[in-house]
Symmetry: C2
Subunit: 223 residues, 2 copies
């Protein structure tokens, strides 16, 4: 479903160029459960943003569901993103002035679902991540790990075929983090593709494929 | 240096009251190295904010360095905070429009240090957390774990006698996280008091005292 060929990514700061991803080659098949491990600053979020079509590579070919993303304009890219991909951001990116429930409902508004159904689906997924009694809280009325779980619920509410999770358990204790991974395992059994960045080798081990990244170079490790 | 007696803390949302800390009793001595473990939503950050005088308890007595914080007004509280306490926030709280170096220099500006010395001290601590080549980057030009390390550097640059760190390794890989804890261990050998919230039992074990928190109740565990 996803085929990256010699992907490079550079950031530019003033006159300086910093190449962060060097000729990354990665094939992911529908239904894969993949984890990406690597030190801080090694290029994981950069890679994830390109996989999720939130950023474009500086060079190389990226085919998503058979579409070459170079051929897609902004509108088509947004359509692919909203329809197929659920993204859990490393920094959560919740809207600060609306409740947990409204944050999770947001992606369903874009897909045109009427309000009673939206509230029902959003409430159910918030319950599944253990936040049934926090749905009316604003983000600043939630703990760090509760905010992270709202971000996870928001990514899952549209039932995406591909879930991209950037350090989804970073703010969670062992038990709560394990419950989140159980949720991902269940989604994967339903046939969804899961790509998870993590620093926790216990969490990484629960995937079926493990990719290591070091200074923007990938190596696959036998699981 | 720190004595909490029957501390309670409630949050109010509209007409609802949620008591998060229930009769917390905690004594911390100068030079202690303490870690606080507990599930997401159990009250760790709430407790840390009261310890760091960023929030006031709803009931109970809190003596910091012999001062009853009830007797201190806003200005005196801020003075104690800036002089004695370094705080690493769970959400980093970096200023987005200034560089890593300027973010770390900020606390030194309040203490009236001239610019060349400030830049030197800020540059040194950023080097110690592994960010020598990132000092001019803005926060959104840094990875999650790099932002966290800037927040750690900012808390340490004033050489506080008490360091409060709320999940200081949450965004860091094993090796980088361990280097940060080594830095804390060194500061503790110099006599500084370290209080660290963490979800990682490997990290917690490196402290000399371990406190568990569950639903706002504390228990101390033998290390
Ligand atoms: N907008 C940017 N401008 C310049 N450099 C950037 C930018 N964004 C990221 N970088 C740099 O690119 C490198 C890779 O960043 P990235 O966020 O992908 O790392 P990461 O593997 O996700 O790290 P972490 O585990 O700390 O989140 C880092 O050294 C970072 O400083
Ligand atoms: N401003 C607020 N208003 C209402 N409730 C709040 C507020 N801040 C925190 N809470 C609630 O208080 C409880 C404790 O929050 P706290 O941030 O102390 O937890 P925590 O132990 O730090 O969790 P985490 O490990 O997820 O960071 C949570 O259930 C949270 O929803
Ligand atoms: Mg990252
Ligand atoms: Mg917290």
């Amino acid at each position: 479903v996803l085929n990256m060929n010699n992907i490079c990514k550079s950031y530019y700061m003033g006159a300086e160029e910093l190449e962060v991803l060097h000729n990354v080659n990665l094939k992911i098949h529908t239904g894969d459960f993949l984890s990406i491990l690597g030190p801080s600053g090694s290029g994981k979020s950069t890679l994830m943003n390109i996989i999720g079509c939130l950023d474009v590579p500086t060079a190389g070919k990226y085919l998503l569901s058979g579409n070459d993303i170079d051929d897609l304009d902004e509108i088509e890219l947004a359509k692919v993103r909203n329809k197929e991909i659920g993204f859990v951001f490393q920094s959560f990116q919740l809207l600060p002035r609306i409740s947990a429930l409204h944050n999770v409902e947001l992606p369903l508004i874009y897909s045109g679902l009427p309000s009673p159904e939206r509230k029902k689906l959003a409430g159910e997924i918030l319950k599944r991540v253990g936040l049934a009694d926090k749905i009316q809280n604003l983000p600043n009325q939630l703990s760090g790990g509760q905010q992270q779980r709202v971000a996870i619920a928001r990514a899952l509410v549209t039932e995406p075929s591909i879930l991209l999770a950037d350090e989804p358990t970073g703010a969670l204790d062992q038990k709560t983090g394990s419950q989140v991974v159980e949720l991902f395992e269940q989604l994967n059994r339903e046939g969804r593709t899961i790509i998870m960045i993590t620093h926790d080798s216990n969490i990484a081990r629960r995937a079926r494929r493990v990719i290591h990244i070091l200074d923007g170079h990938l190596t696959e490790v036998e699981v």
